[in-house]
Amino acid sequence: MEAEVDKLELMFQKADSDLDYIQCRLEYEIKTNYPASTGKKNPVTLLKELSAIKSRYQTLHVRFKSVAVEQKETKTRICAILNNTVTMIQELQKQTDLEMSPLSKEEEIAAEQLK
Protein backbone atom coordinates (compact mmCIF):
# COMPACT_ATOMS: atom_id res chain seq x y z
CA MET A 1 0.00 0.00 0.00
CA GLU A 2 2.81 2.33 1.02
CA ALA A 3 4.51 1.72 -2.30
CA GLU A 4 1.29 2.53 -4.17
CA VAL A 5 0.94 5.82 -2.31
CA ASP A 6 4.55 6.73 -3.02
CA LYS A 7 4.05 5.88 -6.67
CA LEU A 8 0.92 8.03 -6.82
CA GLU A 9 2.75 10.88 -5.13
CA LEU A 10 5.56 10.68 -7.67
CA MET A 11 3.03 10.74 -10.49
CA PHE A 12 1.44 13.88 -9.09
CA GLN A 13 4.83 15.53 -8.69
CA LYS A 14 5.75 14.67 -12.26
CA ALA A 15 2.41 16.00 -13.56
CA ASP A 16 2.93 19.18 -11.57
CA SER A 17 6.41 19.83 -12.92
CA ASP A 18 5.35 18.89 -16.47
CA LEU A 19 2.55 21.46 -16.28
CA ASP A 20 4.98 24.11 -15.03
CA TYR A 21 7.31 23.29 -17.91
CA ILE A 22 4.51 23.52 -20.49
CA GLN A 23 3.37 26.88 -19.06
CA CYS A 24 6.91 28.30 -19.17
CA ARG A 25 7.53 26.93 -22.65
CA LEU A 26 4.27 28.38 -23.94
CA GLU A 27 4.97 31.78 -22.43
CA TYR A 28 8.48 31.77 -23.86
CA GLU A 29 7.16 30.83 -27.31
CA ILE A 30 4.55 33.60 -27.25
CA LYS A 31 7.08 36.19 -26.10
CA THR A 32 9.58 35.24 -28.78
CA ASN A 33 6.97 34.99 -31.53
CA TYR A 34 5.13 38.16 -30.63
CA PRO A 35 6.60 41.01 -32.74
CA ALA A 36 8.34 43.00 -30.00
CA SER A 37 9.01 45.59 -32.68
CA THR A 38 5.45 46.86 -32.29
CA GLY A 39 6.44 48.34 -28.96
CA LYS A 40 3.25 46.82 -27.59
CA LYS A 41 3.24 44.34 -24.73
CA ASN A 42 2.92 40.65 -25.51
CA PRO A 43 -0.24 38.77 -24.44
CA VAL A 44 1.43 36.95 -21.57
CA THR A 45 2.67 40.18 -20.02
CA LEU A 46 -0.78 41.72 -20.44
CA LEU A 47 -2.41 38.70 -18.78
CA LYS A 48 -0.08 39.04 -15.80
CA GLU A 49 -0.70 42.79 -15.59
CA LEU A 50 -4.45 42.20 -15.77
CA SER A 51 -4.42 39.87 -12.78
CA ALA A 52 -2.12 42.30 -10.96
CA ILE A 53 -4.53 45.22 -11.33
CA LYS A 54 -7.48 43.00 -10.37
CA SER A 55 -5.84 42.03 -7.07
CA ARG A 56 -4.73 45.66 -6.50
CA TYR A 57 -8.35 46.75 -7.02
CA GLN A 58 -9.59 44.12 -4.55
CA THR A 59 -7.08 45.27 -1.93
CA LEU A 60 -8.01 48.93 -2.36
CA HIS A 61 -11.73 48.12 -2.32
CA VAL A 62 -11.40 46.35 1.05
CA ARG A 63 -9.38 49.30 2.40
CA PHE A 64 -11.99 51.75 1.06
CA LYS A 65 -14.84 49.90 2.75
CA SER A 66 -13.09 49.67 6.12
CA VAL A 67 -12.22 53.40 6.03
CA ALA A 68 -15.85 54.24 5.27
CA VAL A 69 -17.16 52.09 8.16
CA GLU A 70 -14.69 53.63 10.62
CA GLN A 71 -15.56 57.13 9.42
CA LYS A 72 -19.29 56.55 9.88
CA GLU A 73 -18.75 55.28 13.42
CA THR A 74 -16.61 58.27 14.43
CA LYS A 75 -19.05 60.77 12.89
CA THR A 76 -21.95 59.13 14.75
CA ARG A 77 -20.03 59.37 18.03
CA ILE A 78 -19.20 63.03 17.34
CA CYS A 79 -22.88 63.84 16.75
CA ALA A 80 -23.90 62.01 19.92
CA ILE A 81 -21.40 63.74 22.18
CA LEU A 82 -22.14 67.15 20.65
CA ASN A 83 -25.85 66.70 21.26
CA ASN A 84 -25.23 65.59 24.84
CA THR A 85 -22.94 68.57 25.45
CA VAL A 86 -25.43 71.09 24.02
CA THR A 87 -28.29 69.52 26.02
CA MET A 88 -26.28 69.63 29.22
CA ILE A 89 -25.32 73.28 28.65
CA GLN A 90 -28.97 74.17 28.12
CA GLU A 91 -29.90 72.36 31.37
CA LEU A 92 -27.15 74.27 33.19
CA GLN A 93 -28.44 77.54 31.80
CA LYS A 94 -31.96 76.68 33.03
CA GLN A 95 -30.72 75.68 36.47
CA THR A 96 -28.72 78.86 36.89
CA ASP A 97 -31.37 81.08 35.33
CA LEU A 98 -28.72 82.26 32.93
CA GLU A 99 -30.01 84.08 29.85
CA MET A 100 -30.41 81.32 27.22
CA SER A 101 -28.24 82.65 24.41
CA PRO A 102 -30.02 81.40 21.26
CA LEU A 103 -27.92 79.53 18.72
CA SER A 104 -26.49 81.92 16.14
CA LYS A 105 -27.54 81.47 12.53
CA GLU A 106 -24.23 79.79 11.79
CA GLU A 107 -24.64 77.46 14.77
CA GLU A 108 -28.17 76.58 13.72
CA ILE A 109 -26.98 75.70 10.24
CA ALA A 110 -24.15 73.63 11.73
CA ALA A 111 -26.51 71.78 14.05
CA GLU A 112 -28.83 71.12 11.12
CA GLN A 113 -25.91 69.84 9.07
CA LEU A 114 -24.81 67.45 11.79
CA LYS A 115 -28.29 66.05 12.05
Binding site: K54, Y57, F64, A68, Q71, I78, A110, Q113
Partner: protein
Protein backbone atom coordinates in the same frame (compact mmCIF):
# COMPACT_ATOMS: atom_id res chain seq x y z
CA UNK B 1 -15.97 46.55 -16.19
CA UNK B 2 -13.04 47.06 -13.87
CA UNK B 3 -12.49 50.56 -15.26
CA UNK B 4 -16.07 51.56 -14.39
CA UNK B 5 -15.89 49.97 -10.93
CA UNK B 6 -12.72 51.89 -10.09
CA UNK B 7 -14.17 55.15 -11.44
CA UNK B 8 -17.28 54.69 -9.27
CA UNK B 9 -15.12 54.20 -6.18
CA UNK B 10 -13.01 57.27 -6.97
CA UNK B 11 -16.15 59.39 -7.42
CA UNK B 12 -17.63 58.02 -4.19
CA UNK B 13 -14.41 58.88 -2.34
CA UNK B 14 -14.46 62.45 -3.70
CA UNK B 15 -18.09 62.95 -2.58
CA UNK B 16 -17.27 61.57 0.88
CA UNK B 17 -14.32 63.97 1.17
CA UNK B 18 -16.56 66.95 0.45
CA UNK B 19 -19.13 65.74 3.00
CA UNK B 20 -16.42 65.27 5.60
CA UNK B 21 -15.02 68.77 5.28
CA UNK B 22 -18.55 70.17 5.71
CA UNK B 23 -19.11 67.92 8.73
CA UNK B 24 -15.82 68.96 10.37
CA UNK B 25 -16.59 72.65 9.82
CA UNK B 26 -20.07 72.29 11.36
CA UNK B 27 -18.75 70.35 14.36
CA UNK B 28 -16.06 73.00 14.97
CA UNK B 29 -18.66 75.82 14.76
CA UNK B 30 -20.75 74.13 17.43
CA UNK B 31 -17.67 73.36 19.49
CA UNK B 32 -16.72 77.02 19.66
Amino acid sequence: TLKDDVSVLVDKACVTSRENSGFMKAAKVLME
